[in-house]
């Protein structure tokens, strides 16, 4: 007998190339609607996913297109969870410094906005490293109210 699961999930693996961003963000938006989120919230989730995957491609993999980015979408009664795994350069939550929007307006500069969007548009953003497998994870959680 199959083990009972308390959530539904599926995975997608893409090459580490920005040409696939639109595919992933479209999927994230559709998944948000399936999870019961409204249109405006679904759009915000898709932006957060864009930022997270872009960070992996451009920063963790330094723009190298021959790697893989693995995404898993988990649907629970309480939330939509989007897990993003990669084997590039990782970051940990305690290393992050989010720009202060008020300071940003006083001293505008290019860059640094993606993490801020992720943190504003999602309920939780976590970065984890698995030292055994060598994989790094970014986990985005949007609660379903």
């Amino acid at each position: 007998m199959a083990a009972k699961v308390d959530h539904a999930q599926f995975r997608l693996v893409i090459p580490s190339q920005t040409r696939y961003l639109n595919l992933v963000t479209g999927l994230a938006k559709r998944a948000s609607l399936v999870a019961g989120l409204d249109d405006a919230t679904a759009a915000k989730v898709s932006i957060a996913v864009d930022e997270a995957v872009t960070n992996v491609i451009l920063h963790a993999y330094r723009g190298e297109g021959e790697h893989s980015v693995e995404l898993e979408l988990r649907f629970t009664e309480q939330a939509l969870e989007i897990h993003i795994w990669h084997t590039g350069q990782g970051i940990r939550s305690d290393q992050l410094v989010l720009p202060d929007p008020k300071e940003y307006i006083k001293h505008p500069r290019k860059g640094g906005l993606g993490l801020l969007l992720m943190s504003r548009f999602m309920d939780e953003v976590q970065f984890k490293a698995d030292e055994v497998s060598g994989r790094n994870e970014c986990c985005l959680i949007k609660k379903i109210s």
């Binding site: 920005t18 040409r19 961003l21 639109n22 963000t25 405006a40 759009a43 915000k44 898709s46 932006i47 864009d50 930022e51 872009t54 491609i57 451009l58 929007p101 008020k102 940003y104 307006i105 505008p108 500069r109 290019k110 860059g111 906005l113 993606g114 801020l116 969007l117 504003r120 548009f121």
Partner: protein, 119 residues
Amino acid sequence: MADLSIAVRHIGDVAVILPAGFINAHTVREFEEALEGQVQQGRYKILLNCKDLNYISSAGLGAIMGLIETVRENDGDILLSNLQENVFAIFDTLGFTQLYRVFPEEDQALAAVAPERKA
């Protein structure tokens, strides 16, 4: 269909740029080139009419941010109009609505940046 297409119109000394589709890390270079092309032509009054812009990520916001000092130092500005709800949410969340003038319609933005057109 391409992820992004960009049309440019010149109305007086104002460059009206109409991005259609998605601005993300994949398409941002095309968007940057459109903006930089106007500045290189000496056009420092730039209106971004976003009526057909479905989506802009921080990469696109960075492209705008990268030129704002140059245009303002040359008595110009970058204005925004016709923002869709989700695009407005991105600009507003990051405080860009305090940095840039945002108008509901293109005509209102043109009147603000080139008031002599009203006569």
